[in-house]
């Protein structure tokens, strides 16, 4: 009885030590998203077409991990599609951002209105 009691205390101690180092799983699948943001902001090295390909790999990774891509991901991809002259693909990405993260609705609507106004039809 006493032995199992002390054993229990020891276990609690071990759990507490482990508690300091415990890493909860991430909320999102990040892949190369942030390095791609840096590549875009630096504006040197890789082309926007190459950056789109890199982001599509992140989407595949997220699907395989059964996780969502992070906040801002689809909007950033939309920005790249605009720069590549693909407003329809850009619109889909902005809509995806809005669906996934309703907190972005005001900004996405602002961008969607601009996008629609900028189209030559």
């Amino acid at each position: 009885m006493t032995r199992s009691f002390f054993g229990g205390l020891l276990l609690v101690g071990v759990l507490l030590v482990g508690g300091c180092a415990t890493r909860t799983p991430t909320l999102y699948y990040w892949g190369d998203y942030q390095p791609q943001l840096y590549a875009y902001l630096k504006n040197e090295g890789t082309s926007h077409a190459e950056q789109i390909l890199a982001l599509q790999k992140v989407i595949e990774g997220a699907k395989a991990a059964n996780k969502s891509v992070p906040p801002g991901f689809h909007a950033h991809l939309g920005l790249l599609q605009i720069s590549e002259g693909k407003p329809e693909l850009a619109r889909m990405e902005l809509e995806a951002e809005k669906t996934l993260f309703p907190e972005s609705a005001v900004f996405m609507d602002f961008l969607l209105v601009k996008l629609a106004g900028g189209k030559s039809r």
Partner: protein
């Protein structure tokens, strides 16, 4: 050793271990933060006070991870940057003067994070080179104008090197090597990643967890 004594020792050990994670710093006053319940954070391009022109973009590229993983919606940093650019604002100093009303109107954000980089880069000294990135952050409620949180963080390549005491010649050789490695590999950008994580992730005296985190509302209560 008696069983009672062993029990007392065990309890003491547990008490020491349990408090080991907590810091001794004075607890931050989160009254305004808790009242505001922010869901989203608009990070503006950081103002750079260091001589390295890469600093602002470098830190900006790292802010999404710590804030989003802490449970907030983080506005897409590149799209935010581009939006200001198309409105004729390219300098972070100018962008930081945009009114709260205007930011709220365009982005619909609950809060804005102002970041200032005070140190970014490698300092060459005789005995060692030190790549250091230091930044401060200020989170402001765009609905009320209240400051919800202020903090600062630093990271340095010297942290893990310790003082091995290999004699002065060994240290000089090491300094020469350090300088080459630090400049060639864009060390500053790597260190900026650590600084950003320390500055912006939820932790004691940092921001609180946001609504998208399973730890939302579980931050330790003020004593």
């Amino acid at each position: 050793m008696s069983a009672l004594r062993l029990l007392k020792l065990s309890l003491l050990l547990i008490a020491v271990l349990a408090t080991g994670c907590a810091s001794n710093q004075q607890a931050y006053d989160y009254t305004a933060f808790r009242r505001a319940h922010p869901r989203s954070i608009l990070v503006l391009p950081p103002v750079n006070k260091s001589p390295d022109i890469k600093a602002s973009n470098s830190v900006m590229s790292y802010v999404s991870y710590p804030l989003a993983e802490s449970g907030y919606y983080v506005f897409p940093v590149t799209v935010v940057d581009e939006t200001f650019r198309q409105n004729g604002l390219t300098l972070p100093e100018e962008i930081h003067t945009v009114t709260h009303t205007k930011l709220r109107e365009i982005f619909g954000a609950d809060t804005v994070m102002y970041i200032e980089i005070t140190d970014y880069g490698t300092h060459y000294q005789v005995l060692a080179s030190d790549t250091r990135v230091t930044a401060t952050g200020r989170l402001v409620d765009l609905r009320t104008g209240d400051t919800l949180w202020i903090g600062s963080a630093t990271a340095s390549t010297n942290e893990n090197q310790g003082s091995s005491g290999n004699g002065i010649i060994g240290m000089l050789v090491k300094a020469a090597i350090d300088q080459i490695v630090n400049t060639l590999s864009e060390q500053g950008h790597r260190v900026a990643g650590v600084t950003s994580q320390r500055l912006l992730a939820a932790r004691p005296n940092g921001i609180l967890y946001g609504p998208r985190s399973p730890l939302y509302g579980l931050d330790p209560s003020p004593r």
